[in-house]
Symmetry: C2
Subunit: 137 residues, 2 copies
């Protein structure tokens, strides 16, 4: 409750019930969530558009980041305290082909790739698909 307000304030955001609810949903569910997921969970309380705008704001402020897989766009909490200026740009995501959940894998770096001459890489995004621990029987 109180920590939600703190987090929002820390990013220069006013506290509103929608922002608190979206943020606490990201914290409790740990996997990446799409707008549709959030709408399913909170849609009776808030307008679709408000949820879109909340996500956009959180993105800009560095509270969440985009997660892409072959089904579309999702969002997940930034592990580090990212800010408007400085985003952590080195992500590994694992999508389970069984349960469909996508999770960030923390504490793991993407190994260096030596690109051909002339490429100047700025950030890396690795998506691994397979079976997650929960689903392997």
């Amino acid at each position: 409750m109180e920590q939600l307000r703190e987090m929002l304030k820390g990013h220069q955001l006013r506290t509103t019930t929608c922002r608190e609810d979206v943020l606490s949903t990201f914290i409790s569910k740990k996997n990446a969530l799409s707008h549709g997921d959030l709408e399913g969970m909170l849609g009776e309380n808030y307008d679709r558009v408000t949820i879109y705008r909340t996500l956009k704001t959180f993105l800009e402020k560095g509270i969440i980041h985009k997660v892409l897989d072959d089904e579309g766009l999702r969002y997940a909490l930034c592990s580090q305290n990212c800010s408007e200026e400085k985003h952590q740009h080195d992500h590994i995501h694992f999508k389970c082909n069984e349960c469909g959940e996508t999770n960030c894998i923390e504490n793991l770096h993407i190994p260096a790739v030596k690109l051909p001459e002339g490429y100047m890489p700025e950030n890396f995004n690795l998506l691994i698909q397979g079976i997650c621990p929960k689903c392997k029987s």
Copy 2:
């Protein structure tokens, strides 16, 4: 011309002008293309739906594969001869933040990542964003 027919036949596909045009567009442009890109180039000749279905067919037959970046979904030719059964599942894509083009980087493997216990990876997709050789001045 003739090789297009051969490629289509090789995948058990009837030759139609739409398929030939889409395929030859992928061959001439080398970067990844979205449905919208193709519609822009060929849309006067073919219905949107036909282009969607062509892409879907090519995907299933292993002629093209999906490419994802933060802007959405695109498609690119499979380098190897993939088939319905066997897809090459190890892709590195480079998206230029300057010109917006996304390209496959061939002949480069994704280095092994040691995942936490319990994860069973099946395929890997690495998206690198930065500045491409053409745009670095």
